[in-house]
Structure formats: C-alpha cells, structure tokens
C-alpha cells in the first residue's frame, strides 16, 4: 500500500527479546531517564509572585476612554455593538443637558454601557469600529466571579479615572 505521508513508521512486530522479557533492564533504563529529570530546570512560573509579561498586542479587558479634560468620549453611536461578533455590548443613549459639558464631550452620551465579559471574545473589533477613540482593550483580563451577574461590566467598571480630578488613580491604573 502506498504511504500517504513521508512520516509513516512501520509497526515493529518482532517478538520481544530475552533481555526485554526480563523487564528489569528496560525498567532500569526508564528509571535513569526519570532520575535525570531531578537535575532539570523547572519551567514553572510561580504565578502570583511572578507574572509572565503579556505581548504588546495583548487584548484584555475593555476601558472607556476620557479626553484630556476628563470628559467621556463615547457618544453612544452603537458602532461597537454592531461590530461585536459575540453581541456582548449593549448601551442606552441619552442627550446631554445644560451644565453637563464638562462630563460629556458631545451632545449625546451613553447613559448605560454594558459589556458581558462571558460573551466577549476579546477580538478587539469594537476598538477598531469606534470613531471616537472611546473604547480600548487594556492589558489585564477579567477576574473570576461567583455569579454571572458579576461579569456584566457597567460604566463604573469600564471608565478610566478622570485625568484631572483622579490623576493618581489613573497613574496607578496605567501601572506606573
């Protein structure tokens, strides 16, 4: 029969030799192999103490961005929700009223903005779809939770700290 690939190895059907039938020699060889592993370097990363760095293109938990004056950039256009292949994003828009100019950048803003982290596949299409640079994927991931409700992240969870009034928190969140 013609071989399908060049990696075919014929099954060895030779009856076992006398030395093999004694088991002992082969067991000894095996034990030498395991013994040599005592001196091998362990590849373990001691997780909570040592963390492996993420790659620069890592796509983690989302953040909702503010502009340099601390105003929310999101205008609740819904493009991220449309782009989302997992349908993890929902939002409700509201109109900015008089006196809220320092809170929201444009006349329309997201009154409610929720991402279900159990649905999210962290593809980053929301980030690409956003015309206002309002949503970004950060370099952390969603922590574990005891119930499903806890995985639905609302605006308080997603918004970054205000660069003017909460500068220290923002620096902490950025990791410096």
């Amino acid at each position: 029969m013609q071989a399908l690939t060049n990696r075919v190895i014929a099954v060895n059907r030779k009856p076992i030799t006398f030395v093999e039938s004694l088991y002992l020699w082969n067991i000894l060889k095996g034990m030498m192999t395991t013994f040599s592993h005592i001196f091998k370097k362990k590849p373990t990363i001691y997780y909570p103490e040592v963390k492996r760095p993420f790659s620069p293109v890592f796509r983690g938990l989302h953040v909702l961005n503010r502009d340099e004056e601390g105003r929310e950039r999101c205008t609740a256009c819904g493009l991220c929700a449309v782009a989302c292949p997992a349908e993890a994003i929902t939002m409700e828009a509201a109109e900015r009223v008089e006196g809220e100019e320092m809170l929201y950048r444009e006349e329309k803003y997201a009154a409610k903005y929720e991402i279900n982290m159990l649905r999210c596949i962290f593809c980053g299409l929301c980030e690409e779809a956003c015309p206002k640079d309002a949503i970004y994927l950060s370099e952390t991931f969603a922590p574990a939770n005891f119930n499903r409700r806890g995985f639905i992240y609302g605006k308080p969870d997603l918004l970054i700290p205000n660069p003017l009034s909460q500068a220290a928190d923002l620096a902490l969140a950025k990791g410096n």
Binding site: Y23, L24, I27, G30, M31, T33, T34, F35, H37, I38, K40, K41, K42, P43, T44, Y46
Partner: protein, 348 residues
C-alpha cells in the same frame, strides 16, 4: 508465685516504646504523602506543593484537615459494620508489623537497659507474614462492604495479587531462613553486624530482588497498583469511602510502604548496622542513636525508591501481573532456594 510477678517497669517501658513507634510511624507516613507529591513533582519537572508553610511543609496537615472536614458518607446499600471495619483493619494490620522490627540496639536510660524493639519474638518473620496477609482483609472487606461493582472487582484483584505474590515472597524468605537459621529479626540483624559479617543482600541478591518486587505488590504500589487502578476501576476498593475512612486507607498504604522498607532494611541491609562503625567503641546510647539514624536513612532510601519506581513504570496489565507472579517469580524463588540449599550443603 514468682511466676506471676510482673515487672511493672518493663510494661511501662514497652508501652512507651509502642506509643513512640506508632506515633513515629504515623508521622513518617504523614510526611511520606508529602514526599510522594514532591518526588512526583521533581521527577516531572514541577515544583510540587509549596503553598502551605515554608516549602509546603504543612501540606500533609492541610490534607488531613481537609479529609477530616469532609462529609462522612456510608452508602445505603453498604454493609455498615464491615464498611467501618475495613479501613480500621487496614490501618491496624499496617501498624502491627512494626512490633517486631528492631529499630536500634539497646539504650541505657534511668539505669535500665532498654531494647529498641517491642517484641523480639522467635517467629519474627512468620509474624510479619501473618500480619501482612491480614492487610488483605482490609482491602477485601472494604471492597465487599461498599456494594459497588468497581470496589468488588478491585478487592478481588487485590486479594488474588496479594496471594500470588505472598507465595514468591515466602519462598525467597525460606532461602534467607536457611542461611540465617533463625526467624528472630533481632538475631538476623546481629548476624549482619560486626567485622567479618556482611549484609544479607550480598549473599541473597536474587532473593532480595524477589522480595523487593513482592513488597511492591504487597503494598499495592505501581507497577502493581491494580486494586486502585484509577483509570479502569474509578478509584478501586475505596471508591465509596469518604472523609477519614478514606484517609485511613490511603494512610495505611504509606505506613505499609514505611514498614516494608524497614523490613527490607532489616532483612537484607543490616538493619541498624552502619558499615565501618563499631558500636563497641562508643557508649551504648550514642551507638543506639547512630543505629536508629542509620536504619531511618536506609528506610528513607527505600521509600524514595518506591516513589521513583512509581513515577517511572506504568501499571502492569492483570494477565501480565499473574504471569510475572506465577511463571517468573515463583520459579525464580524456587531456584534461588535450591541454589542456596546446595551451597549450604557443600559448605558443611
């Protein structure tokens, strides 16, 4: 009436010795479970348990606490009394063996000479064999009383395995017995100590090999761990057990390992004898301490060997196990016995 006079001090002395040995065996078994996990980890390039205490040293206590805190379940179809008796019997049989092992020579305390052996009975070997055979009842009763087909199958396997390998073990012992001329363990160790005497393993290498393999089978250790073959019998004979009853079963396995290591060290590796160390040149207490340390070092080496084999060799298939036991081990032991007999006859 002198016949009935009891030396109270002797009774107290023996009771203290029993308590010390039992607690030491339990403590060593406790840390053997830890060592097992550590050795497994190191052989597999992992760090192993390292969270509880420094280097994970409190891990066995955490494991024990967890087992005690678990719910105690007795299945409704189980035979309640036998179900409880099983682990107790396994544990008792495991602990009883340590009575005849000489842990060291004599120490002098409070003006008394105390032998570091609970009972130097003249049928030491036979006693060990008897008690080891009792250990099978723990497995059998536990498996039977669980009312679970997997447990029953595992128990059947365990019993047939133990019987098959006890035969070869007994035959290898007969060869040793012909050499030593005594069944008394204290006497066997004395024969191996001192200048001009050698450890029995030099005279009986094949006998030792057979004994070693059979000890693996008796302790239900890999490659002979068929009674607790996880991937074919779920968990084996202790499948229905929970909480500390399961703990007793798991624990008795480690105590068995410790005791059989001690027996092997005693029978074949000179017990508490340290080569090139003459106890007569030192005070008895110092010599006894060195002796205990020597025996423990030998035991630890055997225990490591047990683990090393466990994490190297895969489990035998049932028919391979039986073939090895009946068609290789027993004939080999018989040949060993014959050769020993011939050599002894020629030298006379």
């Amino acid at each position: 009436m002198t016949l009935l006079s009891i030396d109270t001090a002797l009774v107290i002395e023996k009771l203290i010795l029993i308590a010390v040995i039992i607690f030491a065996s339990l403590g060593i078994a406790l840390y053997t479970t830890f060592a097992e996990r550590k050795v497994a980890a190191i052989l597999q390039d992992r760090p192993g348990p390292n969270r509880a205490g420094p280097f994970g040293l409190l891990q066995p206590f955490a494991d024990g606490l967890k087992l005690i805190a678990k719910e105690e379940i007795i299945p409704s179809g189980a035979n309640k009394w036998l179900f409880i008796l099983g682990p107790g019997l396994a544990m008792t049989a495991a602990l009883m063996t340590c009575a005849v092992i000489p842990w060291g020579d004599k120490v002098e305390l409070f003006g008394r000479t105390i032998a570091l052996q609970v009972a130097d009975i003249n049928i030491g070997f036979l006693y060990i064999f008897g008690v080891v055979s009792l250990g099978v009842y723990g497995v059998m009763i536990g498996g039977w009383a669980s009312n679970n087909k997997f447990s029953l199958l595992a128990a059947l396997r365990g019993a047939s395995q133990a019987i098959s390998y006890e035969l070869a073990m007994g035959l290898s012992m007969i060869a040793l017995l012909m050499m030593t001329g005594t069944l008394q363990l204290g006497e066997i160790v004395k024969q191996q100590t001192g200048p001009g005497h050698h450890w029995n393993v030099i005279y009986q290498p094949l006998g030792f090999l057979i004994f070693l393999v059979c000890a693996f089978a008796e302790c239900n250790r890999t490659p002979f761990d068929l009674p607790e073959a996880e991937n074919e019998l779920n968990f084996g004979y202790h499948q229905e057990y929970s909480s500390m009853k399961l703990g007793f079963y798991l624990f008795s396995e480690y105590i068995n390992m410790f005791i059989s290591s001690a027996v092997m060290a005693t029978l074949f590796f000179g017990g508490y004898d340290l080569p090139f160390f003459n106890p007569a040149n030192h005070t008895p207490n110092f010599a006894a301490t060195i002796g205990i340390i020597t025996l423990m070092a030998k035991v630890v080496m055997f225990i490591f060997f047990f683990m090393w084999v466990r994490w190297t060799v895969p489990r035998f298939r049932y028919d391979q196990l039986m073939n090895l036991g009946w068609k290789s081990m027993i004939p080999l032991a018989l040949v060993n016995m014959l050769v020993t007999a011939v050599v002894i006859l020629m030298r006379h």
